[in-house]
Amino acid sequence: MGSTVYSRRMESTSEKKINPQEPIVTHKDALWTVLFGRSFAVRVFLYVFLGLGVLGFGVGFFAQVVAGGYMTPGTAGLMGAGAVFFLAFLLAYVITRPILALAKAAQRIMEGDSSVLIDLKRRDEIGQLFRFFKGTAKNVSDNHEREIALSQIKSQFVTVAAHQLRTPLSALKWSLRLMLDGDMGEINEKQREFLGQSYQTNEHIIHLINDFLDISRIEEGRFGFQFQKIRILDTIQKVVDASMAQAIIRGVRVSFIKEAPADLEIIADESRMFTAMINILDNAVRYSNAGDEVVVHVALTHGKLEISTTDSGIGIPLAEQSKIFSRFYRASNAIHQQTEGSGLGLFIAKNIIERHGGTIGFTSEEQKGATVFFTLPATDDFIKKQEKSYQPMGEVM
C-alpha cells in the first residue's frame, strides 16, 4: 500500500513541476542579509572563516617549517590535508544534518504518518523552515482528515437515503405487482395499462437509487463481486429479453447475433454483468429512432468474447466523446431528446467490465448511431485467476 501512495504523490509532485512558477532561490542573499545574530548562515560563515584561518595558519606554518627545516614537506602536507578533511566533514555534517531530518519528516508524512514530531528548539532559518514545514504538514493532514470524514458522511448519507427510500418504493412495487397479477381481484385493460406504467416508473426510481448505491460503493472501493461460472450467452439473452419492454414502447427492434458456442462458460458475476449490459443496451434502445434496429453481436475470437451493441440512433457528438464514461455525464443531444437519465449507466458498466478483466470502447457519429463494444476474457488462465481471488459474496443487487 505504501508504494501506491508513494507513486501517487510522485505524480502530483511532477505535476507541480510543470507549473511555471517562479523557483524559490535558496542559495543567494543569505550571507548578505543575515550577517549577525543566531543564524545558520552566520554559523556556516564562522565555520568557513575558522577553516580558512586554520588553513592560512597551516600554510604559513608550513612555509616557515620548510624554511626552518623542522618538518618534511610530506608531513606538513598531510597535516594540511587532514585539517581540510576535518573541516569539510564538519561543514558537510552541520549543513546536511537538518536537511536530512527534514527529508525524513517529509518521507514519513508522505507515507501517511501525519503525527510527525519535529524538534522546534532551533531559532535560526532551519528552525523557521521546520516550523513552516510543520504548519504545511498539519494543513495536509487536516485536509486529509477532512476528506476522509467528508467521504464517510457522504457514503453514509447515500446509504441511509437509499435504504430509507427503498422501503416505501418496495411497498409500491409490491402493491402494484399484486394488482397487476390479479391478486387483488380482476382489473380491466385500461387499469392494467396505467398500473403497468406506474410499476415501470417505480422500477425506474428503484433502479436510479441502486445506481447511486453502486456509485458510492465504487468510490469507496467496496463494490463487491461474486464470481462464478456462468453461461454468458444465456445472460446476454436475459438482457435482450429485459430490454424488450422499452424497445416495444419506442418501436425499436432488437436482434441478437450469436457467433459463440451457446454453452460457453466464463467466470463472471452474473448480476453485475447483467447490470453492465442492460445499461449499454438500454442506451442503444432509448436513443434509437422508431423503426430502427439495435443489433447485439457476440463473437468468440482468440480466447476473448467480443460483445458489441450497434444502434443507428442519435449518436454522440464528437466533442463530447471523451466524457462518455464519466459519471453523471449525459451527451447534450441525449438530454435534448430525453430528460430522463442519470448519466451513471456507462460509468458503472465500464467499472464492472474492467473488474472482469475486459475493456470497453465505442465508435459513434452524430445522427448516425453508435457502437459500444467490450471484451471479456474467456481463457482458462483468467478463469483460474478469478477463482483464486474468488470473493464469496457480492452485493446481491
Partner: protein
C-alpha cells in the same frame, strides 16, 4: 377472507406449510402475507424480533422470513437466537430486507441465513417462488 379467491390446487399444495414473517412495516407485511396466504401458506406475523421468537417457539414453522432493521432486537440478533435454540436452528431463514450490501449479506449468511432477498428487487411472486424452491430442496 382471502382463501375464497385462491386457486384450490395451490392451496392444497401449500396448505400444511407454516411460515412466520417478522416485519415491522405494516403495509409491506400485509402485502406479502396476502400473497403468501393466497398461495395457501399458513402465515403467522410478528412486528418485532422479540415477538417473532415468541411466535416461533410456540409453534415452529417450516420457514422464517426475517427483516433486519427492526425495533428492539435486530434481525441479526434474532438469527443468533434461532441458531442457539435446538428446536429452531434447523428451520431455514430467508432474510427479507432492504439492506443488501456485501457485508450485510455475509453477516446474515455467517449467522445461518439460508438466503437474502432485497425487497426492492423481488416481487411478491418471486419471493414465493424462492420460498417454494427452498422448501423443495429441504423437505421434498
Amino acid at each position: 377472507m382471502i382463501k375464497v379467491s385462491l386457486p384450490t390446487a395451490r392451496a392444497v399444495e401449500n396448505s400444511s406449510v407454516k411460515l412466520v414473517i417478522v416485519e415491522d412495516d405494516k403495509f409491506l407485511r400485509d402485502l406479502i402475507v396476502r400473497k403468501l396466504s393466497s398461495e395457501g401458506f399458513l402465515v403467522k406475523e410478528a412486528q418485532t424480533g422479540e415477538e417473532g421468537l415468541e411466535v416461533l417457539r410456540e409453534d415452529p414453522p417450516q420457514l422464517i422470513l426475517l427483516d433486519i432493521l427492526l425495533p428492539g432486537m435486530s434481525g441479526y440478533e434474532v438469527l443468533e437466537a434461532i441458531q442457539k435454540d435446538e428446536k429452531l436452528k434447523s428451520i431455514p431463514v430467508v432474510m427479507l430486507s432492504n439492506l443488501g450490501q456485501k457485508e450485510e449479506v455475509e453477516r446474515a449468511e455467517l449467522l445461518g441465513a439460508k438466503d437474502f432477498l432485497i425487497k426492492a428487487k423481488y416481487t411478491p411472486g418471486e419471493i414465493v417462488t424462492r420460498i417454494k424452491e427452498i422448501l423443495g430442496e429441504l423437505y421434498m
